[in-house]
């Protein structure tokens, strides 16, 4: 009796997921993890090109920009302080946050502060970064105005502003602005920009730079399936990410990062959603892009990696069902039964110390 109920539940679980693939993701969230607006990639689109890192100026401002780069690429230097897994920001934002269609920092910086209807709150650039610390890095975000958030904001600002200035043929160094201005982000009328740039582009245009986020791909023809995804994983992913998805450490560094389990992103991260992961994977994986996955393969493999246990959703107040209803049910597997187990009930700890 009991076992047949479980079988039925399991079957319902997979049905629910198929249905979810067809519905639009829930847009509003009482947190900083709302999905980014995503649009399909266009052919012959040109993208902003940030200046070479060797153009970062000497001096205190330049030092903040350089620190931002270093924290972004080697985020593990903040392990146990603000980071609770083996990831680095660069793992999901390729080329140190400079690559178009890999959610580049230059695309993000001019899109904040972003107004969010649900909590009638404006979220600043540093708050968005705090979100990635709490969820993608399974950690505890640095405080507002902290040197780390200032540095990451300075790096994002410098990349974006330099690129926009070059596009508008404005020479000279990127204007230095205060820490308080840096962490807010640039989508506001009172944000200081060179006059020629203000004339060339509106605030709204700067907030919608082509190449921002991960490009949307069409819905799969067949409802996405972790079973089919496993075959894609074995053929095209496991050489690098490991048979068990735990990545590979060389000299103590996970150059090849874990995709699930205790050392990966948690159940609150944007990447845990099948759609977001499918967009990311289709555009950026297999790393180096020696081959292109089909849309269907990207959805299937995204479903496969995201139907494994990972660290708990920090917003879970002790009840998976409650957290699921409040924050999930949008093309994801939190609270869904997979292989007879409800995902989220056996999750790994949030912000564990490195043993």
């Amino acid at each position: 009796m009991k076992s047949s109920a479980i079988v039925l539940l399991a079957a319902m679980g997979s049905l629910t997921v198929q249905a979810q693939a067809e519905t639009e993701p829930v847009q509003e969230r009482p947190d900083k993890q709302a999905p980014l607006p995503s649009s399909p990639k266009m052919s012959d689109q040109t993208y902003l090109t940030p200046r070479s890192l060797s153009a970062i100026p000497e001096g205190a401002f330049g030092d903040k920009v350089r620190l931002g780069y270093q924290l972004f690429v080697n985020t593990q230097q903040l392990r146990d302080k603000y980071v609770g897994n083996e990831l680095n920001c660069v793992n999901c934002h390729m080329d140190a946050g400079r690559k178009a269609n890999a959610s580049p920092l230059w695309g993000a910086y001019f899109a904040y502060p972003a107004y969010r209807k649900k909590d009638d709150k404006v979220s600043s650039f540093e708050e968005r970064i705090q979100g990635c610390f709490n969820y993608s890095m399974n950690g505890k975000a640095p405080a507002s105005g902290s040197p780390e958030l200032v540095a990451l904001s300075a790096y994002a600002y410098w990349l974006g502003m330099g690129g926009l200035m070059d596009e508008a043929n404005i020479s000279g160094p990127v204007p230095e602005i205060s820490d308080a201005e840096l962490v807010k982000g640039a989508k506001r009328d009172d944000f200081p920009v060179p006059e020629a740039l203000a004339k060339a582009m509106t605030v709204e245009q700067r907030a919608n730079l082509p190449g921002r986020g991960y490009p949307e791909i069409p819905k799969p023809e067949q409802a996405y399936s972790p079973e089919r995804g496993k075959a894609v994983y074995v053929a095209h992913c496991q050489t690098c990410h490991g048979v068990d998805g735990q990545g590979q450490a060389i000299a103590g560094v996970y150059a090849l990062p874990p995709l699930w389990g205790p050392q990966s992103y948690n159940w609150g991260a944007g990447m845990h959603r099948v759609n977001t992961a499918a967009f990311f994977i289709h555009e950026n994986m297999p790393f180096g892009k020696s081959m292109q996955l089909t849309n269907q393969q990207a959805w299937d493999v995204a479903a496969y990696i995201n139907s494994h246990e990972r660290p708990q959703d920090p917003r879970n107040k002790g009840d998976v069902k409650q957290a699921q209803d409040k924050y999930h049910n949008d093309s994801d597997y939190y609270g869904v039964t997979v292989d007879g187990k409800v995902l989220g009930t056996d999750s790994y700890p949030v912000f564990p110390k490195k043993s």
Partner: protein, 206 residues
């Protein structure tokens, strides 16, 4: 006749047990089939330029895969292919385990992100790649300082001439066998000047 075979079999089996016992205590000793290899790769697999590359410090997994790549013709090389053919069955993993266990000079790992800018173009390619050409950083796959692990070979301290011929072999299509051509797609984007610079860079890492 049958008895003789049986005796030889027992003798071999005994030798096998002895080597495996030795392995569990200390580093593996050179198996008989490995005698052939050391004339070109050195007794400790340290490499003998230009006869054969260093094998020490490469993982067993990687060495086994390369031997089977030579056997299957994914790697075309007139000198090494016949050598690979000599190895059959158990001897492949025994030889691989032996060379893998040999020590290599310690190289201090430089982490990605440790430096922001590089004056040396090879170091920049190694640490930051050139994404305008969709060329990822070498150390992303080969690990910090190209120290290698698993199926990603160690580049630090390998012979420059060998690194160069391998990158050219991918360009010429005479080396294959990497999953989805992941290394081929990197090698194909490199200029000959970059290949020279990268080969020297990794060979001289200390």
């Amino acid at each position: 006749m049958k008895i003789v075979r049986f005796i030889i079999g027992v003798a071999f089996f005994g030798a096998y047990i002895n080597t495996t016992q030795a392995q569990s205590d200390t580093a593996p000793s050179l198996p008989p089939s490995g005698q052939l290899c050391i004339s070109c790769h050195g007794a400790q697999g340290q490499g003998m330029e230009p006869l054969g590359p260093r094998l020490a410090g490469l993982s067993t997994e990687y060495l086994v895969k390369q031997i089977s790549d030579f056997q299957a013709g994914h790697r075309l090389n007139a000198t090494m292919q016949p050598m690979a053919m000599v190895l059959q069955g158990e001897s492949v993993s025994q030889v691989a385990a032996y060379f893998s266990a040999q020590t290599v000079p310690v190289v201090t790992a430089e982490l990605r992100g440790q430096h922001v800018t590089f004056t040396d173009t090879a170091a920049r390619l190694a640490y930051q790649g050139d994404w305008a050409r969709e060329l990822p950083a070498c150390v992303t796959c080969h690990g910090p300082s190209g120290l290698g692990g698993g199926l990603f070979p160690r580049l630090a301290g390998q012979q420059a001439s060998y690194i160069k011929t391998q990158l050219q072999a991918w360009q010429a299509g005479t080396r294959k066998g990497d999953v989805d051509g992941m290394m081929a797609s990197v090698a194909n984007k490199l200029t000959i000047a970059e290949i020279d610079a990268l080969a020297n860079y990794f060979a001289n890492l200390k």
